[in-house]
Symmetry: C2
Subunit: 493 residues, 2 copies
């Protein structure tokens, strides 16, 4: 593996060329993002017009920095990049992030300039990402060089994005939802460093548990497929390929200048190399998060528990559309559930637990389904998120009483509900761990994907049955792919 | 129109049979939901074992209430409903909500009991909704009889749900998102009052601007289609029909006992009667909310403005999948935008406004697109929700400084951003009003559908391009349907 990528994503020291103390300027935003987190490496602002920037000594050029520099981040106008690269060569800097735009994406002169810097980098042995990228982040060393400080918690999910705006949006969501990030790479124009190169690198890093990719176009499909095939043996890779429509493909061409290629070709390549293909950025985030934190199911057979009929019907509809199968309940499970549920329970998968019930009932049903040999994933609908309902109830009671209750009283009312939900979530995590089957909860709240941490691992919940089914559908596809690979390997012996 | 429906949804007085002061009991939850809002009608708890409940005098039976009662809400065990209905007859009560379950949905004895109460109601002229419903709400009189107090603001959206759990979840979302509710009706087993009857009633009410329906099954399809055909002339009706899969259809049968019928038959019936058909509950809410607040486009042609290429590509892909058309920009608009955008702008629809830009630039581009004859809807991507990014920036600055900034300083930093966004939203509302074309904004935040109120009307924003396209796709279909109806009427003359 190219050790310059270690310098790029795990730099011990970084210089920001074009650093500025004027907010709104890119050189200020980038430097703020680096300094505003807990990065412990050395940071050197480079700006000839200033002595200090954000409290740090500023250097006239990279050459003037008296210490080693692992990574140079460029936020200066395009025409000054060639000189900056010469400085890198002189200083012995081997890795760079080129935030600057004004290259191939603006046409003629920009394209010429891009060729020039590619050659310069090649000659001096400099590896750079970009240009025209919105930056990178490496959460395990609390390092980010982004136009908007974000600071996600360290975790297992890595993101490669060929669009800066989409990439940053996904990154913000990862931070706000506490999903946990390993590495983020916005690849920009991909002059030298391609999405596939980054994927190969992420495949080699132990802290990366899954990779999410936003792809507009891949130049060397064969090389990329080879890399992907290797990486997906070790960890899930989830990708969205945009530009599948005529209008979208034209828009992609004018965006990063990439040839979009036929969508069907990408789909076939993804399938063959084990990449989970999704259709939208929110699917990308949901599926990649689940792939990071949950066991991978070995088949497409699903058991569903629902609190009320409606959700079960929607989930069953969505399962059929996604190629998931709901096996018929065997007599043994019917008998087991007969002892737990009211006499008129539906005796079908989805299992409707009807009334309000208690968490131990939910967990018994989930446990019975999860231990059932015929299914490899579980979806549990409508059992989380009821504390919001309890809060609404307390608020109504207060209006009737004409007075606000004390915090203690509210907590004591909420306590049972909160305890019940905690118990449910923790129980789900335990069953998930014991059976090694993913259990997705569908909550009543509108917050979308949520992660809960328990002593038995993470539980993923979403807001709607369709989100749960999408996740299970994609994880099952990957699980089946892996089983197929194993079978192939077996036959090859 | 049946005036008993006015008594049901606009009661001047209501009795709660089975009222209780023990939280968790249905009779307590329902009474709390009625009293905990601002309902100005009279409320009479009925419970023979108590003198007062939640501060109100309690009556041994309906017959003992000394004043007129418009509506009786039943939260007592099923076997006592026949007696309750006799009390209604004696008291001259003409409308009832039967929350109680334990009828057809539990099989033999329950089905017999359901037939019995249907006959009793028919004889005494009592109209009831349910049984096995989670209740109703009528926000313009601040009335709700629900198992979870909710209290949504009054507004234009009405909801009919054949699933209590799904209905309540939608209702909570309407309340939390301040979408504004007219009427909610959970129809339960639909012993006498059917979803179609409620739809007809909602069609006649001026405060209802659009109707959202969750449908598992319709018994009299021909009658329903006739009603729908009339209502959709006046206002949009959005529906989800679940049970489209084999597994889902079986689940639906065991849920409310409804015959699901062929999904294709429903789809054909919806199309012919002008009902907008969606696939998931979140689509139902998003599309119905947009239909309540936005102008209906007359065609499927869309203009898109994007802040950065990625979103534009995704939106273009989704448009093509949804049957929406992105017309090519005419020379006149290219010329107009040439004067506003950098020289290398993409000169395509989606229009990429590239850099950060200012709100007046966004609005000029949106205005140019909205006034363009060739399109009837506008999608604006990535221009709302940046204040979250500014907040992250301030937080990073604080960490660098090692001190927390004052609220004043933060506000002054945020002020420009907030003002810019307000200006953008208000400008969008103005253009929307002037051109009578819907403009959907796609924000950077993960909150899903959001409504902003301005002096020029409401602006709908969502979190993802796909949500925006789904809304525009469905509204366009309805607009084309209405245009077709006009053409038919013209030919008939």
């Amino acid at each position: 593996m190219d050790t310059r990528l270690d310098k790029m994503f795990f730099p011990k020291s970084v210089a920001v060329v074009g650093a500025s103390d004027i907010p709104v300027k890119w050189g200020n935003l980038i430097l703020t993002s680096i300094l505003g987190w807990r990065y412990e490496g050395k940071v050197f602002p480079v700006n000839a017009k200033k002595d200090t920037i954000l409290g740090l000594k500023s250097y006239p050029s990279l050459r003037d920095i008296p210490e080693d520099v692992d990574l140079a981040v460029f936020a200066i106008p395009a025409q000054f990049i060639p000189e900056g690269f010469r400085d890198c060569a002189a200083k012995g800097i081997k890795a760079a992030v080129v935030i600057s735009s004004g290259f191939r994406e603006i046409g003629g002169e920009g394209a010429r300039l891009e060729k020039e810097i590619a050659e310069a980098a090649h000659e001096s042995g400099l590896l750079f990402i970009g240009p025209n990228t919105m930056g990178i982040a490496s959460a395990h060393i609390a390092f980010e060089a982004l136009p908007t400080p974000t600071g996600p918690e360290p975790g297992g999910l890595a993101v490669i994005s060929q669009s800066g705006n989409i990439g940053l949006q996904i990154l913000k969501w990862i931070a706000h939802k506490n999903i946990g990030l390993a590495i983020y790479a916005g690849t920009g124009n991909e002059t030298v460093l391609k999405a596939g190169d980054i994927l190969e690198y992420l495949g080699s890093r132990d802290e990366v548990k899954a990779v999410a990719m936003y792809i507009e176009g891949i130049d060397d499909g064969r090389k990329f497929a080879g890399i992907a095939h290797e990486v997906t043996r070790k960890k899930p890779v989830v990708a969205i390929k945009t530009g599948r429509s005529q209008a979208g493909s034209k828009a992609a061409q004018s965006h990063t200048g990439s040839m979009a290629g036929s969508y069907a070709t990408y789909t076939a390549m993804f399938r063959q190399s084990g990449i989970i293909q999704v259709r939208t950025p929110s699917e990308l985030l949901n599926v990649a998060t689940a792939a990071t934190h949950l066991p991978i199911p070995r088949s497409n057979r699903v058991g569903i528990m629902t609190m009320g009929g409606g959700w079960g019907i929607i989930a069953a509809d969505e399962c059929e559309d996604s190629g998931l199968v709901l096996p018929r309940l065997p007599e043994s499970i019917i008998k087991e559930l007969d002892s737990l549920l009211p006499a008129y329970w539906n005796r079908r998968n989805p299992v409707d637990v009807v009334g309000e019930g208690d968490p131990s009932l939910y967990l018994k049903v989930i446990d019975a389904l999860a231990r059932w040999d015929e299914v490899d994933s579980i979806i549990a609908l409508g059992i989380i998120g009821r504390s919001g309902y309890v809060e609404d109830f307390i608020a109504a009671q207060e209006r009737i009483d004409g007075k606000l209750y004390s915090r203690e009283l509210k907590l004591s009312i909420l306590k049972d509900q909160i305890r019940a939900e905690d118990q449910t979530i923790s129980g789900i995590a335990k069953i998930q761990k014991e059976t090694n089957k993913p259990i997705i909860a569908v909550a009543l709240t509108e917050g979308g994907l949520t992660l809960a941490d328990t002593s038995h691992g993470r539980v993923v919940s979403v807001s709607t049955p369709e989100e749960a089914v999408t996740i299970v559908g994609h994880l099952s596809w990957y699980g089946s792919y892996l089983e197929g690979q194993k079978a192939d390997a077996f036959q090859a012996v």
